[in-house]
């Protein structure tokens, strides 16, 4: 069976060409051939479709060295074999240097078959090698491009902790250029939270030991003191089955963490609100029901009073019903007021705290006179930012309480002023010299319907209302007091 072979012969002698063809056929090839003896013809036949070029070294108008150069210039690499009658060693050696595969003497053409076969095989191997190299190069390009353009920060870290490579995103997240990263130990980056370092080292040991593959999260403090949360994905890089580096992808999950934290806070706030609402409903249902029991009870007795003609008791019982309905009315009014906090507010404005105090004093003026209470207000109180009407209610309620719980004090005195700041908010106080509150009740007094003295009139909503208004203004309220030594209510409000 003959192998087809596309051959270009550079040969001026037809006879020599016949000899060559004869040898090729003898070696089992079926040559498809062209013979040229000048540069122009050579160039027109030169094509990568050729399997082999067989060139006489010297022809009258052309030579092998020139042909070889022309082929190279065109970026071609076909097997090129010199077939020559005169063996000028220098010339042959030059041809071999220029890329000829082999050379044969015309009087020893018996070796032609094997020389062609050899050259073809070599060409095949070369082509394969070139392809493989091309593919490798292409892959390398792909990897490099992927590595550099990845939005996720990637670092290659050697087993001794040295940073071997890093991409663009890694430089951004580390807030350092490549030259300050490569060759440095990742421990010296100064971007890692030191308290986290033992954990990180432990993780890397586990990774190298093949015990950890799942991503883990770490908190880092960067050189600009920014706190970042990173999710670390690792892969081991191996050469001949031995690990030589760790590929670390650090996803920035700071924002995600913040959102999670915010969500957690919201859930907690919501739960607290819910509990508050539940408590509110519970208290309301209990306290609103109470007067109904009273009213119905006395209505029953009024019937008896009327039947027995006991007018004295009838009058008493009617009064009691009156009291209960009044109480219910007061409860409903104040509950409505309480429910309006946060819902129906006036636009916040800058108000002088002294103005608020003055407004509140005007409202409780009658009670103050009746009990002969002296009020001392510090001068130059700061300007606050809030709902004027609601803040007046705060002062009014606090004054109201101070007067109500004055006891048998012969020189009733209420002092109003500022006592330093907390979190950049002025702390105001309303101080009285009344009966005071035992420490165990300091929390309870701000609860809804919690009254300390059943004999005092009022619904037990006042301080709950005050607390709500203050908290709506992002402030806080607390009391300092001892039984028999007066009370001081402190509260904070935002500045202008």
């Amino acid at each position: 069976m003959s192998l087809p072979l596309r051959v270009l012969m550079l040969e001026d002698s037809e006879m020599d060409a016949e000899l060559v063809l004869y040898e090729l056929r003898r070696a089992g090839y079926e040559p498809d051939w062209r013979r040229v003896d000048n540069e122009a013809d050579y160039l027109s036949c030169l094509s990568t479709d050729l399997d082999v070029i067989l060139a006489d070294y010297s022809m009258p108008q052309f030579n092998a060295l020139r042909a070889l150069q022309l082929m190279k210039e065109r970026g071609m690499d076909m097997p090129f074999i010199i077939v020559t009658g005169t063996a000028g060693e220098e010339a042959v050696a030059e041809c071999m240097r220029q890329g000829a595969r082999d050379y044969l003497l015309k009087d020893r053409l018996g070796r032609l078959g094997s020389a062609v076969e050899h050259a073809l095989q070599e060409k095949r191997l070369n082509d394969e090698k070139k392809q493989a190299l091309n593919a490798l190069h292409e892959n390398e390009e792909k990897y490099r491009s992927l590595f550099e353009s990845s939005p996720e920060p990637i670092m290659l870290i050697g087993l001794d902790g040295t940073i071997l490579d890093c991409n663009q995103a890694a430089q951004i997240i580390a807030n350092r250029p490549r030259k300050e990263l490569i060759g440095k130990s990742f421990q010296d980056l100064g971007v890692l939270d030191e308290t986290n370092m033992p954990v990180i080292m432990q993780r890397f040991t586990e990774i190298i030991g093949g015990k950890l593959f799942a991503p883990f999260q770490i908190r880092v403090i960067r050189n600009d003191n920014k706190i970042l949360w990173l999710e670390i994905h690792v892969a081991l890089l191996k050469k001949d089955d031995a690990i030589y580096a760790i590929q670390v992808i650090s996803r920035d999950i700071t924002e995600q963490k913040q959102i999670e934290a915010e969500r957690e806070n919201l859930i907690q706030e919501l739960a607290a609100r819910n509990a508050e609402l539940e408590q509110f409903t519970y208290t309301v249902s209990h306290d609103l029901k109470s007067p109904l029991v009273t009213i119905n009870g006395y209505l029953g007795y009024i019937e008896q009073d009327a039947a027995s003609g006991n007018l004295e008791r009838l009058k008493q019982d009617t009064q009691r019903i009156q009291d209960a309905t009044n109480k219910m009315h007061a409860l409903l009014t104040e509950l409505l007021e309480l429910s309006r906090i946060g819902r129906m507010m006036n636009a916040p404005e800058n108000i002088s705290f002294e103005e608020i105090v003055k407004d509140a004093i005007d409202i409780v003026h009658g009670q103050l006179e009746k009990r002969d209470v002296t009020i001392q207000t510090q001068p130059n109180l700061p300007i606050v930012y809030g709902d004027r009407q609601r803040l007046t209610e705060v002062l009014q309620n606090l004054l109201d309480n101070a007067i109500k719980y004055m006891g048998d004090q012969t020189n009733p005195l209420v002092e109003i002023g500022q006592h330093g700041e907390e979190d950049d908010k002025p702390i105001f106080f309303v101080k009285d010299n009344g009966i005071g509150i035992a420490p165990e009740y300091h929390e309870r007094i701000f609860g809804l319907f919690n009254k300390l003295d059943p004999n005092m009139d009022g619904t037990g909503i006042g301080l709950a209302l005050v607390k709500r208004i203050i908290e709506f203004h992002k402030g806080s309220i607390w009391v300092e007091s001892k039984l028999g030594e007066g009370s001081t209510f402190y509260f904070t409000l935002p500045k202008e």
């Binding site: 519970y282 209990h286 029991v293 009273t294 119905n296 009870g297 029953g300 007795y301 009691r320 059943p454």
Partner: protein
């Protein structure tokens, strides 16, 4: 036997409701000695013979405590807890008498060892009936162990 010989301790902060309960008790011929405490702290002082009641004898307990839950200073559930947690007062029958029919109040009261939990009926006749039953049962029928000094 001491002079006062209190048989019912009524813990109720609202004077009108107190009067209403007293009416109902009298109406049903329960005319035992009644002590009224206006808040939880006063009730505890009375039962544990402290403060204003330091002169009382702890081994002379009331036959029954009628306890409202919503009270100033110390609330009803805490009063109940304190009574039932102390060996000296544990055997005193406590009847919660309240307008709250909240499940959690009922459950917690029974967990704390209340002897009876009565929701004040809004209806006058029912209220009267409830007070009559409380009086009859706890004052006349129920027997508690005699107090033993330890």
């Amino acid at each position: 036997m001491s002079m006062e010989n209190i048989e019912i301790l009524l813990v109720e902060d609202n004077p009108n409701d107190e009067e209403l309960t007293l009416y109902a008790l009298r109406e049903n011929n329960i005319t035992n000695q009644i002590q009224v405490a206006r808040d939880g702290a006063e009730a505890l002082e009375y039962l544990f013979c402290t403060g204003a009641f330091a002169g009382r004898q702890i081994n002379d307990p009331p036959k029954v405590v009628l306890l409202d839950l919503k009270l100033p200073k110390v609330d009803g559930l805490e009063v109940l807890e304190r009574i039932k947690a102390d060996e000296r007062t544990r055997t005193i029958p406590v009847v919660v008498l309240t307008s709250s029919h909240e499940e959690r109040d009922i459950v917690e009261s029974y967990q704390l060892g209340v002897n009876s939990y009565i929701v004040k009926p809004v209806d006058f006749e029912q209220f009267n009936e409830a007070i009559r039953h409380i009086g009859l049962y706890w004052m006349l029928l129920n027997k508690t162990p005699l107090y033993k000094s330890t």
